[in-house]
Symmetry: C2
Subunit: 335 residues, 2 copies
DNA sequence: ATAGCCATGGTAACGCTCAAACACTTAGCA
DNA sequence: TGCTAAGTGTTTGAGCGTTACCATGGCTAT
């Protein structure tokens, strides 16, 4: 590895002259700058990142902790985060908590030793269930900036990026009601998560607000141990007159659509389905699933922006919560 | 941030005593060690990563460059890499090349300044198309260890992790032939990639080796600009007597299955389909797609292992190519 | 006394930057 | 003409947080 010292020796000048020359310091003579830069390019000199970080106490690296890369939502968020960070000259260190509290604690611990300038994270399922946030607030208290996205925690004092989960589910349910649906079932594999609960509440509120809706709400919660397909089959078996399904997670809407078609439902004539899925599943369905678009890319991008803003203005201004707009995209599974 | 200096001042000992005490040096008195450790724990002292890296010239960080996180194969590989790296005490810096040569060059450039101890990467589509590898060999020549996985390049001197693409496609085609299929079509959206070509060759060779097979091979190549569903429709329209489909990419097998069912094909009676997909798509199909399992998790894990081995034994032993076994998993879309 | 041991302290170095000090030129002025 | 003042362009030195190596000082055993 070629260092400033190497260059300095070769050029018979001091190390700091080289340093200043490479940084275009006005203190250094034009001719010297030229000579230094030429040799630097010729030897493919690269400033040592660690030395810079040590000196400046800045790493230009963001720590990203997500619960699950195989979940398309988080993969897309990660993609957006990487894109935006990279555009702004930051690298990202990625950790996957695997929905586990212990791994989350571990990752935060390991990275908050000067490895990163700040964190972007979404809280693990286990963490949310147990409502443990000490490990996170410890980091925040130490003054390491943190942005939470999607799965946030109200108790934590930091910047956040969320969507209006309640409102999105409310709007979708409202749409089904406006279609004249009389038996709307909600299915969710994220009932345990903050976002899942909010969406369910949106659904419940919409039904409640509709004076003409007579049925009891039906919330079907799928857990990790359940077989999703079986649960969907049960849904149809025990709700013979279902005519609207709101899936508030990534996959169950698609599965419900497949099962419904197989059972001979006419869609959307006799049954409407709305999912929270991303566009990527559309290639697997016919008719195309109507969805609530979460603008995942914007979520990732905003998170990075918020974090970098915070890093730049060390001024302790108020913490911000950005709400990304959702959009109900009607396709083939709704009237 | 609390440093050794802080601890030293509080305890009225020297910095080097503190350092040694925390490292359990036998030079330091038992009682002092105790005192130091207590205060360190109490103040939540964390050794500064940058200082350590600068001193030791080791970062305990691996650079991972993948073409696309939204592709389930790479997401899973990334997952495996993160898991294994983390288990072995390494962090990963993730870059997404987005299939672009320029981004790949950029990422390599930016990280090979001492930010990472080595690289794990899979080559971008554009890079493979243009067959440019200077940026990679430059890194290798500088002595930074590199492991390529899946999309490799034969010209590069480094460790590699691949699957037997040719053999896997050969075996799958063979299976279709053994079923008695007479019109087997291959569909691929990765014809431009090394792995895609190998798979196609495996298919071609299997047909060629079968003296009884009379038809011309049919290779349908899908590009980024194509609409996959249209291409599949065309496939059925122009191959009226197709009775076997081998999809060598992630998605086209599932789409073919859906389209076939819609067109009234009896599966697997009249048409067999084999895909290279991961299990994650199975929830969207009925019958379940038969697939060639790539053991993606093992690919990621092996890559990390190979890289760490290389880091430990700085001895320049021969470069290794690990081939991960594939497995033809027969499910509902084959006889 | 002197060797030998123990516990601790001091210094340099990793690669870099920044402030301050230092030469060396040139201009300004009595 | 001689001396200071004000630039130039460069070097020196300190410091970011660590650890490795060597030095020191006090003690005990010979």
């Amino acid at each position: 590895m070629v260092t400033l010292k190497h260059l300095a020796e070769q050029l018979n000048v001091s190390v700091s002259t080289v340093s200043k020359a490479l940084n275009n310091s006005p203190e250094i003579g034009k001719e010297t700058i030229q000579r230094v830069k030429e040799l630097a390019k010729h030897l493919n000199y690269q400033p040592n990142k660690m030395a810079l970080s040590l000196k400046s106490n800045k790493t230009n690296t963001l720590g990203v902790i997500i619960p699950d890369v195989l979940n398309h939502f988080f993969a897309k968020a990660l993609y957006a985060i990487e894109m935006e960070a990279s555009k702004q000259g930051y690298n990202i260190i990625t950790c996957v908590s695997n929905e586990l509290l212990s791994k989350e604690e571990n990752s935060l611990q390991l990275l908050s030793n000067g490895s990163v300038d700040g964190f972007i994270m979404s809280i693990a399922e286990e963490t949310q269930k147990q409502n443990k946030t000490d490990h996170i607030s410890r980091v925040i208290d130490r003054g390491v900036p943190m942005v939470l996205f999607d799965r946030v925690c109200d108790d934590l004092e930091c910047d956040k990026v969320i969507i209006d989960d309640f409102g999105a589910a409310y709007e979708a349910t409202k749409h089904l009601l406006n279609e004249g649906r009389k038996h709307i079932v909600l299915i969710s594999d994220i009932e345990k998560l903050s976002v899942g609960k909010l969406r369910t509440n949106g659904y419940l509120k919409a039904l409640q607000d509709d004076v003409l809706y007579k049925e009891e709400p039906v919330v079907i919660s799928v857990t990790k141990d359940d077989n999703l397909e079986e649960v969907v089959d049960n849904l149809f078996d025990s709700n013979k007159n279902v005519d609207g399904i709101l899936s508030v997670d990534n996959t169950s809407g698609v599965v419900a659509l497949h099962k419904a078609l197989k059972r001979g439902y006419k869609i959307p004539e006799n049954l409407s389905i709305i999912g929270f899925s991303d566009k990527n599943v559309l290639v697997f369905t016919e008719p195309k699933l109507s969805t609530i678009s979460q603008h995942t890319f914007d979520i990732g991008k905003s998170s990075v922006q918020l974090l970098i803003d915070r890093l730049n203005q060390k001024s302790n201004s108020e913490h911000v919560t950005t709400t990304i707009k959702t959009k109900l995209v009607l396709r083939g599974t709704t009237k």
